[in-house]
């Protein structure tokens, strides 16, 4: 070949030989630069179709511009010979560098971050490497990593192990096959197709090898290697390897793709964290730092007594506590609490005799979950964030969107829905939290897309009749349901239309804004989508469009009447472009027939020049008789209806934009307390979690009188 010209490159010298072919140093006679030319072996097992595939892949890979990817300049065919012209990189392979006893941890991290970054770029472009191995990674004398041969290896169906096991290798060279085998993911041996997570497995092997000088799964024969990959756990790599790096490698080497990192960017972030982790992850206190209790002296507090009714209001600039009595017609305002911080989620926990307010606060300084047992006079603030992603997760907490109480008979259970979309659970009354891995490791997660407010899990709905069943809603991921207490989750979006995907009814990816369930009919759920109003009567198996007569089916909140499973409230806004109430009129819409028809509720609400937005947590119903409903706007107004929405009054204006509202009636004993029978003439408390429903006729009679 020496002296031959391929395209406009004159071959100068042979520099290597691999499974795919021979690599030559060459000189580009047009652009006057040195290049590497890989000539694919003529005796390759590639048939005509495979050759064309290879060409196509190489062309696609040539579009990858990234400092850690060896650039492909040109691909071509000359006299039936396939060749690939690449950037000429001077350096040694990672395989050679780590051959003796492995590299120091800082070098492994430095190179690992670059390899992961290269994979992240390629995966973003839909290109899987398929043959990542230390021999395909060059390190320049300056320490710059260059990953070679992106997307060039093809599964050509060559049987290298017998049976259904296939190899990626393009060439039947035994040495190259065994070299490649060590990096192959278990799913390949199981006959499943490779995806980007197979590359992440290979990255785990590469990191293991770089750290130790040997691959994690070894054997004398291909069968032994594959058997080890499928069944064995790698021998642990102990100190001086940082535990964080070992954790990353282990997660890359999870046998099930769903248990691995789901994106290369996550691996990159996790390695970066270990790198910086000298300062963060590794230095977390072994012992928990006791939360601080802060007494707020310069805040106007409301004095709360038994029989008071409270509204907890979260805004973009702090939280407020509004106090009234059962009449709900005079209001005293306390706050602002968490001056200047956004409060996206609030909860009131009266289980087990508590009177506890939970608040999530978000600012430049991070997101924290805080609690108060004295109605805001003092707040328990964790010194170290309690809701946090583990270091190996590859992501960091951006915000807490919902705080949900566990079931009545699990008074120490709490949940948080967070951004980036994930679910956290506490079983010790909020002292410690853990990531619900069953959902976080869901194979769909890498394909969830952030909505306008970020990629958030904003809604958590527990089925009170079945401890194993629970729903979450994700923007934009859709509705997910577990029926085994959170271990596994399934997408439940059948019938929900997606406007943001070519397939209008995808399995997942819908931008669900809110779901609501009536506790006494847990099979029934209502859903406000990013365009679309739906009902399910079969535990979210299927959804039916119920936008029958609303001026727009775009909106955020959906609220159930606490005693009537056919009665639901929404606030339509004009469109996703113009997220304001239709025609400048603030109207709540109510259905009393489960969505067969809707009626506008407007008396007392502004009906002129009212371009308002009501966010997903800013419409809530209370549990009193008659039912009250509360509405907060982004313009900082708060309205109340004490007659189930028929008429409204403004409670306050001038608040910062309202993000969430919660309400509670303060009782001495919260759990299992006997309530006085409701009177038809005066407002009465009604157990929030009462198991019995007043008879329909009684409810109807009460409604008439109210």
């Amino acid at each position: 070949m020496i002296g031959q010209v391929l395209g406009h490159c004159r071959i100068v010298a042979k520099i290597g030989e691999g499974g795919m072919g021979t690599v030559f140093r060459a000189h580009d006679e047009v652009l006057h630069r040195d290049v590497a030319v890989k000539v694919v072996k003529k005796d390759s097992a590639l048939d005509q179709t495979a050759s064309q595939d290879l060409l196509q892949e190489a062309r696609a890979s040539s579009a990858l511009a990234h400092p850690n990817i060896c650039t492909i300049h040109e691909v071509g065919e000359s006299d039936g010979e396939l060749y690939i012209v690449m950037e000429f990189v001077e350096g040694r392979t990672l395989h050679a560098l780590s051959a003796a006893a492995g590299l120091p941890s800082d070098a492994v991290l430095r190179y690992g971050v670059q390899i992961a970054s290269a994979l992240a770029r390629a995966h973003d472009r839909g290109i899987i490497h398929r043959d990542l191995k230390s021999a395909n990674i060059l390190v320049t004398p300056e320490g710059l990593v260059k990953v070679l041969d992106f997307g060039l290896a093809k599964d050509v169906g060559a049987t290298v192990l017998g049976g259904s096991t296939r190899s990626f290798a393009t060439q039947g060279n035994t040495e190259s096959i065994s070299g490649t085998l060590s990096y192959m993911a278990p799913e390949i041996f199981r006959g499943q197709p490779a995806d980007y997570r197979s590359d992440l497995w290979a990255l785990g092997v590469v990191l293991y090898e770089a750290a130790s000088g040997r691959v994690p799964f070894e054997g004398q024969t291909g069968f032994e290697v594959s058997s080890a990959i499928l069944r064995e756990v790698p021998a642990p790599l102990g100190p001086p390897l940082p535990p964080g790096l070992w954790a990353v490698i282990q997660r890359c080497l999870a046998k099930e793709p769903a248990q691995r990192y789901q994106t290369a960017a996550e691996v990159q972030a996790a390695l970066g964290a270990v790198q910086a982790g000298a300062i963060v992850a590794a230095e977390r206190s072994v012992e928990r730092v006791i939360p601080r209790t802060t007494y707020l002296h310069n805040v106007r507090h409301v004095r709360v007594r038994k029989g008071d009714f409270l509204l907890l209001v979260g805004t973009t600039k702090g939280a407020f506590i509004l106090k009234s009595n059962l009449e709900r017609n005079r209001w005293e305002v306390g706050g602002p609490y968490f001056h200047g911080e956004s409060v996206y989620a609030l909860a009131y926990d009266d289980r087990a005799g508590r009177h506890r307010i939970w608040a999530s606060t978000h600012s430049y300084w991070g997101t924290l979950l805080r609690s108060s047992d004295d109605f805001g006079k003092s707040w328990r603030t964790p010194q170290e964030a309690t809701v946090r992603f583990p270091a190996d997760a590859g992501v960091s907490l951006n915000n807490i969107w919902q705080i949900a109480l566990g079931r009545e008979d699990e008074p120490d259970v709490l949940y948080c829905g967070v951004e980036p979309a994930a679910l956290f659970e506490s079983r010790d009354d909020g002292d410690t939290w853990s990531l619900v891995r069953g959902l976080f490791d869901h194979p769909h997660r890498p394909r969830w897309m952030p909505g306008n407010g970020g990629l958030a899990l904003h809604t958590i709905v527990l089925d009170p009749s079945d401890k194993q069943r629970m729903y979450v809603a994700i923007s934009s991921g859709g509705v997910y349901r577990t029926t085994d207490g959170g271990h596994t989750w399934t997408a439940q979006n059948c019938g929900i239309r997606s406007v943001a995907t070519p397939n209008k009814y995808p399995e997942f990816g819908q931008c669900v804004h809110k779901i609501a369930m009536h506790p006494e009919r847990p099979e029934r759920l209502f859903l406000q989508n990013h365009w679309g109003l739906y009902r399910s009567d079969n535990y979210a198996e299927t959804w039916t469009d119920i936008a029958n007569g609303v001026p727009s089916d775009f909106g955020f909140p959906v609220v159930m009447h606490p005693r009537n499973p056919d009665c639901v409230y929404v606030v339509p806004v004009e469109s996703d472009q113009f997220r304001c109430t239709c025609d400048g009129r603030l109207r709540v819409y109510r259905t009393r027939n489960a969505g067969a028809s809707w009626e506008p509720l407007m008396r007392g609400l502004p009906q002129k020049d009212a371009y308002e937005t009501v966010l997903r947590e800013a419409l809530v119903a209370d549990s009193l008789l008659p039912m009250g409903i509360y509405l907060g706007t982004r313009s900082g107004q708060l309205f109340v209806s004490r007659d189930e929405g028929k008429s409204w009054e403004r409670i306050i204006e001038g608040l910062p934009p309202v993000l969430c509202i919660r309400n509670t009636f303060i009782q001495e004993t919260a759990v299992g307390s006997a309530k006085a029978p409701p009177s038809d003439t005066t407002p009465q408390p009604s157990s929030r979690r009462a198991k019995s429903t007043p008879s329909k006729s009684a409810a109807k009679s009460r409604r008439r009188k109210s």
Partner: protein
Amino acid sequence: MPVTIHLPGALREFADGRASVEITDPVTTLADVLAALWRLYPAIRDRMATEQGQVREHINIFIGDELTRYTGGLMSAVTTGSEITILPAVSGG
């Protein structure tokens, strides 16, 4: 000569009310300085950094007058007597 860290108001409550903290441990990088600060006052760490070890987006750290975002981030060199200032960025709404 120690390295001095000037804290913004929001962090002082986690450092016994101090406006500045002196680090006498041997340090060569900003990462060393922060690690020493967080050993002294653990609550400051989560307010400054994400779980992934990145300094939060709207927090700026200066060595002298230089913003460390442009001088190597956490690997920025620190010398004896350096004055380090932590400030929230000018942003928000």
